[in-house]
Structure formats: structure tokens, C-alpha cells
């Protein structure tokens, strides 16, 4: 049997068996859950080669599953993050209800994402896309909080996106009479101009919803923060990347074929940058860590979208690099929040405080991913951001650079808020009992932290496969020829300049650490955070020394005009209008027999009057 089919069967059978197993016993369910994911991962990486193809025909449609370099690349995100999140969720979800349901949908989520990546025709792409939507929807409503609001909103927007995509697929099918992606790419140039413009727009709407592009992002904060954190890391890290994957395909294969492609590129790039800026501002305003990370995800995806939309080789490279990194660091951060939620029972940044000495490993993981998120050298985030800036400047998107730079500087604010809120600040008695999270939760986070460091130092490890994937998409081999504005990388980051600099940073850091203060550190003793300088008084236990509320109030005051109204507000307006319209229409059915008889007569009259117009 074809190895791709075997993977899908492992997932499907595994999902069902896990569900049943969980009914029988906890241990059986969890082990089946892990087994499924690891078996499929192993099967994928050991047995499936790029170029494997499985063709079949369904409902008169020729379909094809296969693996391309670019999808292999994204599969790293899905399976890597998926398997780590799976390990994490065993401890994180302990003692929760309906675990079978959770595991089932978790596996279905990974299954559908792999399906999306392996699909080489639009229909199975769409089918897997929808499976992904409903399986993630099921997890968004898993905890049963505000299902009607957050859950429906998520599904509603997903459906809008999916149906936009379906419309495009249907039109493509009617034009090409084939749903294979390669046929579409081949014959796209012969489409009429209207189709050439509208089809990518429809597809991008679909992908934009999943990638959380403005103004379609409104589902994201709620959905990310309402899922269990074990899944949120996958949700924000991998699921949203499916939107990016789709965008990469559209931009590199379709939009390049339109002569008037610049406008679409510009619009999407601007939307991406605005997403980044506005998402950042809203992240700063959040007091709940889940919400903060959710908005931060929206913002981070904004960078990626911008990169993809600009679409030069460097921009694309930067975007995909950032996409992988985002999966790593945002996955870790959601896991951190999950660990804190498990240990303290809350994720509110104004409540939890001073955990650094209680959960040191979690803190290290959080710190590393925050540094990567903020794009500070020497971690990987910096490499991606640098490439993005260079790409934007090199392609003359100057104002975009400023906007992106603003977003990423303002990003420091919420980064700091996150770290400060949870780990730093006053150590309060309320949290004195908190212990480090179980090892199965900490280890995945630390693995990702190490990866972030490795990718910051040796970005070539990742840039090389990305480059291979991009060559598949029709980009020229990028072996060092476009680095004219930067000598950051000569050969995929095994560069002459970058590493010495990074090493220098580390060396200086160690120098000051060791020679100037290590002795001091030894010679000093730890004093509690209550023992601070406050005008000569030693504050008592009861005194509140936490600075938590209105953390970035002055900044938020400065940007108040931008944040007066959420986009949500407009959608709510539209939604209420629709409901009112529906209510009005409903009154057509009065429930009165006479009215219905009158309708029949009126209908007859209308038909008779219009008969010459209606019937020839």
C-alpha cells in the first residue's frame, strides 16, 4: 500500500482507537494517543520520500496525494510541534473530562494538517481544510466556555474563508476541468483577467482567515485563548501556518502569473503589516496571558503575511523562516501559559506574580522564546526579522518597514509584560506553594528553546530546506546571490560574519557575568522582594508593592485613538443588522392559514402578470 495512505490510516484508526481506549482506561487512551502521533511521524519521516504520489479518482475527480519539498518543510512544523504538544498535553490535560474527545480531535487536527500538506489537488485540500476547521472548532469549545460566542464566531469566520475558497475551487474546476494543482498552475495564464484577479483574492480570503489576517482575524483571540493551552500551541503554531502555506502557494504560483500582480501584493502586504501593528497594540492592552499571546500570534502572523505577500526571494525566505520560528516560540509560550495555568489555576497577569524562583525551567523556556519573539540576537527570531527588513527595503517597501519595525518594537512591551507579570515582580504569599510543572511539560518547552538557539546560530540548517522548497515553487536557487545588502549569510548562514558576532555577544556577556559580577553574586545573599529600598522603611507583609494594574497605561493612552474601537464592533453591528433582517423575514410566515392562502393567490397573480417576462 502507498506510504501516504498508510499515514492517513494510522491517523484515522489511531483517532478512533484512542477515543475508544480512553473510554476504557486513562493510561490506554494516553498511550494510544502518543503512539498514534509518533507512529505517524516516524512513518512520515522514515518511509515517505519527496516525490511519492498516490493518485485516485473520487466522484469523477482525479485526485492526487504527494509530497513536495515545500510541504515537507511545513510538515516539520506540524509533526514537530504536534508530537511535542502531544507529549505536553499528557500531563497538561491530566484529570480533565472528556479526554477521549480531546485526543480524538487533536489527532484529527494533525491528520488534517498533514492532509492539507500532502494534497496535490484542490478538492482533497478543501476536504482536509474543513476537517481541520471542525476538529479545531471542537477543541475551541472543549472547555464549554462561551461556546455560542467564541465558538460560533470561529466557525463562522472559518466558514466564510472556506466558502470563499470553495467558490474559487469550483470556478477553477469549471475552467480547467481538473482539480489538480499543477493543472491549475499550468492553465492559469489562459484565464480571463477577471478570473485571474478574483480567484487569488477568493483563495487568499480563505487562507487569510486561518492566518488571522486583518480584518478577518477577529476569531483568533477568542479561539486561541479558549482552547486548552496544549492545543493552543498547536493552533497558533501550526494550524495558522496552514493559511501561510496556502498563501505561499498562491503568491508563488498564481499571482506571479498575473501581469497586474503588484496591487494584490501591495494590499496583502499592507494588511499584513497593519495586522502586525494593530495586533501588537491589542496584545499590549491584554491582562490575560492567553489573550495576550493570542493577539501576539495575530501580530506575528502579520509579519509572515507581509513577507509572503511581498514575495521576493528574500522576503519569502524570511517569511517561511519566521513561520517555522513562530511555531517554535509561540508553541513554547502557549505551553508556558498552560504550565502556569496548571500550577496556579489562573493565567491573569495581574494575579500571578514572582514565579521565577518557583518555576525556573519554565522561566528559561519563556525567556528564550520571548527573546526569539522580540527578534533580539542571538536567537533565531532576529535572523528572520533581519531578513524581512532587508527584503522590504530591497523591494522598496519603506513605509512598511517602519510599520513592521514599530510593531516589533512595541512588541517588546507585551513581551516584557508577559515575563514580568508571571515571573518577576513581587513574590507574593499566595503563590508560595507553586511548584515547577511536571517534567513532561517542561521538556518539550526546553527542547524548543534549544532549537531556537540553534536556529539563531545556524540558520542555514533551516534556510537550506526552505531554499529547496522555494526552488520547487519556481524561485531561483538562492545560493548567496542576493545578499548584496548584507553579508549576514554567505552560504545559508554558515557565514563568515554572523557567527563571530553572535559569539562575541555571548563572550562579552559571559565576560561581564563572570569577571565583574560572579564574585559579587557569590558574596551577596538573596533577599526577598519585600526587602526593597522604600525611603528607609522595610515594607510589611501586608503592603501591596505589586505594580500590575494598568501596566502600560501611559503607552495605551498615547495610542488611544487607534484603539478606540475594535474591528469586532463593526462585525457585531453587521451581525445585529442581519439578525434583525432575519427576524423581519421570519415574520413572512405568520402562522395563519388565511395569509398563506392569500400568498398563493398573490403568487398566482404575480405569475400571470409576469408570464410574458418569465416564460418565452
Amino acid at each position: 500500500m502507498n506510504s501516504i495512505v498508510i499515514i492517513f490510516l494510522i491517523f484515522l484508526a489511531g483517532a478512533v482507537l484512542t477515543y475508544i481506549g480512553q473510554r476504557l482506561s486513562n493510561i490506554l487512551g494516553s498511550s494510544l494517543f502518543l503512539l498514534t502521533i509518533f507512529a505517524a511521524t516516524a512513518q512520515f519521516y522514515l518511509r515517505v520520500n519527496t516525490g511519492d504520489i498516490f493518485s485516485f479518482s473520487l466522484n469523477g475527480l482525479e485526485m492526487e496525494w504527494g509530497i513536495t519539498p515545500i510541504s515537507w518543510l511545513f510538515s516539520l512544523i506540524v509533526l514537530g510541534l504536534g508530537s511535542m504538544a502531544a507529549v505536553y498535553s499528557i500531563s497538561a490535560m491530566k484529570a480533565k473530562e472528556r479526554l477521549g474527545y480531546f485526543y480524538f480531535n487533536f489527532i484529527m487536527g494533525i491528520f488534517s494538517m498533514m492532509g492539507i500538506l500532502l494534497s496535490r489537488d484542490l478538492v482533497s485540500f478543501f476536504i482536509f481544510w474543513e476537517i481541520m476547521t471542525w476538529s479545531s472548532y471542537m477543541i475551541v469549545i472543549y472547555e464549554g466556555r462561551s461556546v455560542q460566542k467564541v465558538g460560533i464566531k470561529y466557525f463562522l469566520f472559518s466558514a466564510i474563508g472556506a466558502y470563499a475558497m470553495l467558490m474559487a475551487i469550483v470556478i477553477i474546476y469549471s475552467q480547467v476541468h481538473s482539480v489538480l494543482i499543477e493543472d491549475l498552475v499550468y492553465s492559469f495564464s489562459s484565464f480571463t483577467l477577471a478570473y485571474k484577479i478574483w480567484l487569488p483574492i477568493l483563495l487568499l480570503t480563505g487562507f487569510g482567515v486561518k492566518a488571522g489576517m486583518m480584518p478577518l482575524h477577529v476569531w483568533a483571540p477568542g479561539a486561541y485563548s479558549h482552547s486548552p493551552m496544549a492545543y493552543s500551541s498547536l493552533f497558533s503554531g501550526a494550524l495558522s501556518k496552514m493559511g501561510v502555506y496556502g498563501m505561499v502557494l498562491v503568491f508563488s504560483m498564481l499571482i506571479t502569473q498575473i501581469p497586474e500582480h503588484l496591487l494584490i501584493r501591495e494590499v496583502i502586504a499592507w494588511l499584513g503589516a497593519l495586522t502586525a501593528a494593530i495586533g501588537t497594540l491589542w496584545a499590549i492592552a491584554q491582562d490575560d496571558a492567553k489573550k495576550l499571546l493570542a493577539y501576539s500570534s495575530v501580530a506575528q502572523l502579520g509579519y509572515i503575511i507581509t513577507g509572503v505577500a511581498v514575495g521576493t526571494e528574500l522576503a519569502m525566505l524570511a517569511a517561511i523562516f519566521l513561520a517555522v520560528l513562530h511555531a517554535l516560540f509561540k508553541g513554547t509560550l502557549f505551553m508556558v501559559v498552560g504550565a502556569i495555568e496548571k500550577q496556579t489555576g489562573t493565567t491573569n497577569l495581574t494575579e500571578v506574580t514572582g514565579l521565577i524562583r518557583k518555576m525556573p525551567w519554565t522561566f528559561i523556556a519563556a525567556l528564550m522564546s520571548i527573546i526569539a519573539l522580540a527578534g533580539i540576537p542571538p536567537l533565531g527570531g532576529f535572523v528572520g526579522k533581519w531578513m524581512l527588513y532587508e527584503a522590504l527595503i530591497a523591494s522598496d517597501h519603506y513605509i512598511l518597514v517602519v510599520l513592521i519595525f514599530f510593531a516589533s518594537t512595541a512588541g517588546f512591551l507585551y513581551c516584557y509584560k508577559f515575563l514580568f507579570g508571571f515571573f518577576l515582580g513581587q513574590e507574593e504569599k499566595e503563590w508560595a506553594h507553586v511548584k515547577e510543572a511536571p517534567a513532561t511539560m517542561v521538556v518539550p518547552m526546553l527542547i524548543f528553546s534549544v532549537l531556537l538557539f540553534v536556529l539563531g546560530t545556524f540558520p542555514g540548517l533551516l534556510l537550506k530546506p526552505i531554499d529547496i522548497g522555494m526552488q520547487e515553487l519556481g524561485y531561483a536557487a538562492s545560493e548567496g546571490h542576493y545578499w548584496t545588502m548584507s553579508v549576514l549569510f554567505n552560504e545559508y548562514g554558515n557565514a563568515i560574519m554572523l557567527q563571530p558576532i553572535l559569539y562575541a555577544i555571548i563572550a562579552i556577556f559571559l565576560f561581564f557575568l563572570v569577571f565583574l559580577t560572579a564574585k559579587a553574586f557569590k558574596g551577596t545573599r538573596y533577599v526577598s522582594t519585600k526587602d526593597i529600598s522604600s525611603s528607609g522603611e522595610v515594607p510589611g507583609e501586608f503592603e501591596n508593592l505589586s505594580f500590575k494594574e494598568n501596566f502600560f497605561q501611559p503607552f495605551l493612552r498615547a495610542v488611544e485613538p487607534v484603539m478606540k474601537r475594535q474591528i469586532d464592533w463593526y462585525y457585531t453591528l453587521v451581525g445585529n443588522g442581519m439578525e434583525a433582517l432575519f427576524n423581519f423575514v421570519r415574520r413572512v410566515y405568520t402562522g395563519n392559514g388565511q395569509t398563506y392562502a392569500i400568498y398563493a393567490i398573490v403568487f398566482l397573480v404575480i405569475l400571470l402578470l409576469l408570464k410574458s417576462n418569465l416564460f418565452g
Partner: protein, 497 residues
């Protein structure tokens, strides 16, 4: 030949009349016999269908009178598909209602008599080749429908039944008018004969007849301004009857309307009219559905909307369009009954039957809730269930005919559909149960009936090729009008020779 199409009409009618007699022998027979009869007919229909696919359409004359004078039954790949589907649904509904509400002896007798008559009428509508005969079957179907609607003694059901009665009589009146018009013009009642002579008719008369038909059959097919009765009937009739209405009766109505438009007359613009009216029906019904607070009314509006979509698909007029319409009919005939059947157990003990009372039942009735959720997911067209492929066919058909607006509207409306179905499913699983609601575990046969439907829905979803070849055959048959005429009239020649 394994059996004659006549049996489809004769046997259930006969059984219906004999049921009171059986009751004297053994009361349980009242429940058992209808099932056996339906099962026999189902087997017969399947085997006949197989034969038809191999050897071509069967035309059966009643009482030796050759067409165009006599009444004939036509069992073609198209009608055969529908009759098989209807019998299958009838069987499922019988299985489900075997011990539904522990119906006492006396009502159960009536119930099964009426159910059999309903099935007879519906199948008769599909099989008959004679227009007046069809009228008779419509009457049989409607009258048993009135009875079944008013099955539960109470003000509301009587009111619903009465509304249906009013509309039904309007329907019959216009049907009769149309038939009279045609007969006065062409002097024949045989459909094939009418079809072959339709060009002789004066255009005004033809259009007038068409309008009368649209009005008369539109009431049965639940097109927009004529469908006010439907929500009341669906919600007041017993649960399985709601399923029967959405799975069988409406399909017969649609069939009749389609037969008129596709075969009888060839009026230019009638297909566009179907698209327009179907679209309006769809939009208005789904808009109304989202604001309902009674579960069965919601399902009823949803059903109306789906029928609108079927008409749109028929209105596309190409082979793909007809194929899509049939796919949608089959898919809807499987899914909507599943929703009705599981839904009526979910509100089994409640008086209000409101959506609120479904809150939190997921824990207490896991299987029923799951099946309802599955049905909901299927009907909004999420893959990998059958609803998706049906929707896909409609959309591709529309796209191939360049009807982009239709695609956009259908998809937009689907979003509305998603909202109201998912609201209900969320309630079932994630809300706190109302104190007053007493969950009712379905009987084993009801569970079995629902599970069969669910399995088929999933199977078609994963592998639509299970049915697509039959649907292609059927749509081919419907579109090939010349062949239809020839098939029937050639029988006439054989007889006369």
C-alpha cells in the same frame, strides 16, 4: 421480470385496507405487516432497478389499455431511483416508529394505515405516466398527510392539519384546472403523449397550464410563497412523520414539478424561473430558520431551504445540474430524516419542543445527540460527509453554467445554515441541562434505524462513487425526453399491432 411496477401501488394500498382485518387476528400484526410489506417492496424495487439499469425502462400498462389511453406506470432509472429511495426511507421510518411513543393499538392502526397510504401516494406520483392518475396519487398522499398531521389529538396539530388542508385544496384546484386545460387542448392525459404534442398547444394556454401546475405542485414542493403550511405540519406531526415529509413527500412534490417542467412542456424560461424561485425559497427559508426557537420548526425551514436548493440545481438544466439535484435529494433524504428522527427523541418528553430544552442532553443521550450532531454537520455540507459532495455537485454544476451569483448566494446562505445548526449542537453538548427535561433513551429499533442512516451518510461522504453512477444514469434518463416519449408510445404501438 421479478415483479411488476403495479405492485408498488397495489400492495401497500391493499395492505392498508387489510390492516384492520389483521388486527382481529393478532394486534401486533398491525405493526409488523407494514414493515414486511415495505421491506418486500424495497427488495422488489432494488431488483427491478437493477433490471432497469441493464435492460432499459419498464413501462407497465394497467388493465391492458395501451397508452395514450390507458394508465401506465413507468419504472425508469430516474423514477426507479426515487421509488427505491422512498421505500428505503419508508422502511427506516417504519423501523423507527415501531414502538414510538408506545402508540396504543387503536392509534397505531391508523398510524400505519396512513403511513402506508402516504408511501403509496408518493410512489404513485413518481411512477405514474398519466397526469390525472398523478393527481389522484397526490390526493392520496395529501389526505393521508392531513390525517397524520392531526395524529396527536390537540389544538395545535388540528390547526396545522387544517392549514395543510386549505393549502392542499388550493393545490388540487389548480392541478385540476391545469389538467382540464391540457385535456381540452390536446385530448390526452398521458404524459408522454402530452409531451410529444405539446407544441400543438396554443402558447398562452401552455403557459397558463404551466402556471397552474407551478401553483398546484409548488404547494407540495414547498416553494416560497406557497410553503407556509410546511413548518406547522413538520413540527406538529409525530417525529417520524416529519421525517417522512422531508424524506418522501417533498421529494414526490419536487418530482412532479420537475416532470412537468422538464418533460411535459418545453417552455422557455421555465428553468430560469426554477433557479429564481428556488433561490428565493432557499434564502427566505434559511433566514427564517435562524430565528426559530422550536427545534422541529427550525428543521422544517431548513428542509424547505434545501428543497429550494434542489430546484436551483434542477433549474441549471444541464446534465450536471440534474445530477447535482438528484444527489442533493438523496443526500437530503438521508440527512434530514436523521435529524428529525434523532431530534424528536431529544425533545421526546418536552411539551414546548423548544431548542432550549435540548441544553446539555449530550451527556444523557450520547448516541442520539451524536447522531443529531452528525446530521447537522452533514447537512451544512462539511466534509467528509455526504452533504459536502451534494453541495459540491451543485456548485460545480452552477459554475459550469457560469452562474457565479448562484454560487455566491448558496455559499453565503450555507454560512447562515452553519450558524443555526451549530448553535443547537453547542447547546446539546455544552450547556447545562434544564431541570424539567426528562431524557428518553430511544428504543433499540429506533437507534438501529438512525445508525443505518448515519452509516450511509458517512459511507457516501467517504466514497461518493457508491451512488454517483446511479445518479448519472437517472439524470440521463430525465433529460432524455425523446427516449421517454418513445419508450411509452412504443408500448402503445406494440399493443396496437
Amino acid at each position: 421480470m421479478v415483479g411488476s411496477p403495479v405492485l408498488f401501488v397495489a400492495i401497500p394500498l391493499l395492505t392498508a385496507f387489510l390492516i384492520p382485518l389483521f388486527a382481529y387476528i393478532w394486534k401486533e400484526l398491525v405493526r409488523i405487516i407494514p414493515g414486511i410489506v415495505i421491506l418486500y417492496l424495497l427488495v422488489l424495487s432494488v431488483s427491478l432497478y437493477g433490471q432497469v439499469l441493464r435492460e432499459g425502462t419498464i413501462v407497465e400498462q394497467i388493465a391492458g389499455w395501451a397508452p395514450p389511453w390507458g394508465i401506465n406506470l413507468v419504472f425508469s432509472p430516474f423514477t426507479g431511483l426515487l421509488s427505491t429511495l422512498m421505500l428505503f426511507m419508508a422502511f427506516i421510518i417504519w423501523m423507527y416508529s415501531y414502538r414510538f411513543k408506545n402508540i396504543d393499538f387503536e392509534p397505531s392502526k391508523k398510524y400505519f394505515i396512513l403511513l402506508l397510504m402516504l408511501v403509496t401516494g408518493s410512489i404513485g406520483i413518481v411512477l405514474t405516466g398519466d397526469i390525472f392518475n398523478q393527481f389522484v396519487f397526490i390526493e392520496i398522499m395529501s389526505i393521508s398527510g392531513y390525517g397524520l398531521t392531526a395524529f396527536y389529538v390537540g389544538r395545535d396539530s388540528a390547526e396545522a392539519s387544517f392549514k395543510y388542508l386549505i393549502m392542499g385544496s388550493i393545490s388540487s384546484m389548480f392541478l385540476l384546472l391545469a389538467i382540464i386545460l391540457i385535456y381540452s387542448q390536446l385530448g390526452t392525459l398521458n404524459m408522454a403523449d402530452i409531451a410529444s404534442k405539446a407544441h400543438l398547444m396554443k402558447p398562452e394556454f401552455k403557459i397558463l397550464a404551466l402556471i397552474f401546475f407551478i401553483l398546484g405542485l409548488g404547494i407540495e414542493a414547498e416553494i416560497f410563497p406557497l410553503n407556509g403550511w410546511a413548518p406547522d405540519v413538520y413540527s406538529q406531526a409525530p417525529g417520524p412523520i416529519g421525517a417522512a415529509f422531508s424524506g418522501i413527500v417533498v421529494k414526490a412534490g419536487i418530482y412532479a414539478l420537475i416532470r412537468v417542467i422538464y418533460t411535459l412542456f418545453d417552455v422557455e424560461g421555465s428553468l430560469q424561473f426554477l433557479v429564481i424561485i428556488g433561490m428565493i425559497t432557499l434564502i427566505i427559508a434559511e433566514m427564517a430558520a435562524i430565528r426559530q426557537d422550536k427545534i422541529k420548526r427550525m428543521l422544517a425551514y431548513s428542509s424547505i431551504g434545501q428543497m429550494g436548493l434542489v430546484l436551483v440545481a434542477f433549474g441549471i438544466g444541464t446534465h450536471e445540474g440534474v445530477f447535482a439535484a438528484l444527489f442533493l435529494m438523496v443526500s437530503h433524504a438521508l440527512i434530514k430524516p436523521l435529524l428529525f428522527l434523532s431530534g424528536s427523541y431529544l425533545v421526546f418528553n418536552s411539551t414546548e419542543k423548544s431548542i432550549k430544552e435540548l441544553n446539555g442532553l449530550g451527556k444523557f443521550m450520547p448516541l442520539t445527540s451524536f447522531l443529531f450532531a452528525l446530521g447537522a454537520i452533514a447537512i451544512v455540507g462539511l466534509p467528509p460527509l455526504s452533504g459536502f459532495w451534494a453541495k459540491w455537485s451543485v456548485l460545480t454544476a452552477a459554475a459550469n453554467s457560469g452562474m457565479l451569483l448562484v454560487i455566491g448566494l448558496v455559499l453565503a446562505i450555507s454560512i447562515v445554515e452553519i450558524v443555526y445548526y451549530f448553535r443547537v449542537v453547542n447547546r446539546i453538548y455544552f450547556f447545562k441541562k434544564e431541570e424539567s427535561v426528562v431524557p428518553k433513551i430511544p428504543t433499540i429499533n429506533a437507534k438501529f434505524a438512525m445508525v443505518i442512516l448515519a452509516v450511509i451518510i458517512v459511507a457516501i461522504g467517504f466514497y461518493p462513487d457508491l451512488i454517483t453512477s446511479y445518479l448519472h444514469e437517472a439524470s440521463e434518463t430525465l433529460l432524455d425526453k425523446g427516449n421517454y416519449i418513445q419508450n411509452i408510445l412504443s408500448v402503445a404501438q406494440q399493443v396496437t399491432q
